[in-house]
């Protein structure tokens, strides 16, 4: 029962949604619309599950005084304070009926003052790591790495004013070799070819995996044991 019922649920939901996509009227369409709504609602519960799991893990770390446990306190306090502010719309000028991210609300402050700078700086750090990774790739001296870095360099220079300035001296007959034009050509043709091959490959993979899941052949998502 613990494994069979989930397989039946997956089969019914999958078949109804696929049929509802092609049959645009009648009960299948009604079910398609309803299941779409239900699907969106249930996935929001996954956020709650994520929050609950975060609480559980960090409370465990604090209670067992695991290594670096004071940082878990930081996570717990930040989580609970933001959650209370968000769920009860604390400091929201419009009260409970106001917009969740209304200007001047405390959650807006948490977003603009804490979340935004932290996430932007965290991702901007990658600029340094990307630079170091490209240097290491360049040192590898393989044909593939050279192609990758040459394409990246042309795109980087071609999309900035310095690229246009560097190749502005070229005669009209060689205008296609100017960096902005070369970057546009790479983006429009070889890049599209590669992306299309990847997309077709992914689509075939998704179709095959979806069929395996709906038919109950793929069961890894159920985990092990009963």
């Amino acid at each position: 029962m613990r494994r069979r019922i989930p397989l039946i649920i997956t089969f019914i939901i999958g078949v109804v949604l696929i049929t509802g996509y092609f049959v645009t009227r009648g009960p299948f369409n009604t079910l398609y619309e309803s299941f779409s709504d239900y699907f969106a609602i249930i996935t929001v519960f996954a956020f709650i599950l994520g929050g609950g799991s975060l609480l559980k893990i960090h409370l465990k770390r604090v209670s067992s005084r695991a290594a670096d446990w004071p940082y878990s306190v930081v996570t717990l306090v930040a989580f609970l304070v933001t959650l209370v502010i968000g769920l009860f719309k604390v400091g929201n000028p419009g009260g409970m009926s106001g917009e969740i991210l209304a200007s001047g609300s405390w959650l807006r402050f948490m977003f603009d003052g804490v979340y935004n700078p932290l996430s932007a700086t965290m991702f901007s750090l990658l600029a340094f790591f990307v630079a170091s990774a490209s240097y290491r790739a360049f040192r590898a001296r393989t044909k593939e790495a050279t192609i990758l870095l040459s394409a990246a360099l042309v795109i980087l220079l071609g999309r900035t004013p310095v690229g246009a300035w560097m190749t502005a001296w070229m005669p009209e007959s060689l205008a296609f070799l100017e960096l902005p034009n070369l970057a546009n050509w790479i983006m429009a043709w070889p890049n599209t070819a590669g992306q299309r091959a990847i997309m077709i490959g992914i689509a075939l993979g998704v179709i095959a995996t979806s069929l395996r899941i709906i038919l109950g052949i793929e069961r890894n998502y159920l985990g092990r044991g009963e």
Binding site: T10, I41, V44, A78, L125, L149, P190, A193, I200, I207
Partner: protein, 224 residues
């Protein structure tokens, strides 16, 4: 909120994260853990008010939610929405070891839903349309019948590039001989794609870094 206070918090958090460039340190760890807590709660709160309240609570308890959900006034409860509510609660049983197996039912709904949505959508937009878009003439002529070398070359690059890329992903046959050469050309096409993506990623990250430097500049400007 006070602008100066915002500037100081912004700058302090930015410097804490950037301190990781030197090495892992308590300031970075503090900012990292703060980020985890704030972002998880922020997403939960936004998900609750943007999705759960109007789409679930507003449908089940319209009179109770009439103050916060526009259009809920006078609406009768739609008890069909107990289905996602029950499945959602079942998903949360994952947190209780004894009942964790019940969360598989909700997970089955999510996985079955994702499979059911994705199969026709990918078949249509990522397979049929992409194949269709690749069916282009290899020889391009202008209105008076003259060969357009540049356009023809670009079309050949596109068609051969897609074929070579697909051959690289075809693992049912060993990539030897002629197939090996085609597959190798496929790798080069993919490398150009990855290079373009890499270039764009670098630009995006540098633009974020520029934004952070501007924020630090504004903070320094407020001091001096």
């Amino acid at each position: 909120m006070d602008v100066t206070l915002m500037l100081w918090i912004d700058a302090a958090l930015t410097l804490m994260i950037l301190s990781f460039l030197y090495r892992d340190n308590p300031f970075y760890k503090f900012a990292e853990h703060l980020f985890v807590g704030v972002s998880a709660a922020y997403l939960m709160a936004v998900g609750f008010w943007d999705h759960l309240v109007p789409n679930l609570l507003g449908k089940l308890f319209p009179s109770l939610m009439s103050g916060v959900v526009p259009g809920a006034v006078g609406r009768s409860p739609d008890y069909y929405y107990l289905i996602p509510a029950v499945f959602g609660m079942l998903l949360l049983t994952r947190l209780i070891d004894r009942w964790a197996w019940l969360s598989r039912w909700a997970l089955a709904f999510i996985v079955g839903g994702a499979a059911g949505f994705n199969l026709p959508r990918f078949l249509d937009s990522d397979f049929i349309i992409q194949v269709q878009s690749t069916m282009i003439p290899l020889v391009v002529l202008d209105a008076s019948g003259n060969l357009l070398w540049g356009a023809s070359f670009s079309h050949v690059v596109l068609v051969l590039g897609v074929i070579c890329g697909l051959v690289y992903f075809f693992f049912s046959v060993e990539h030897k001989g002629a197939l090996g050469h085609v597959s190798r050309a496929g790798i080069w096409v993919l490398m150009v794609t990855f290079g373009a993506a890499f270039g764009y990623t670098v630009m995006a990250r540098i633009s974020l870094l520029t934004g952070r430097m501007e924020a630090l500049g504004a903070w320094l400007g407020s001091i001096f």
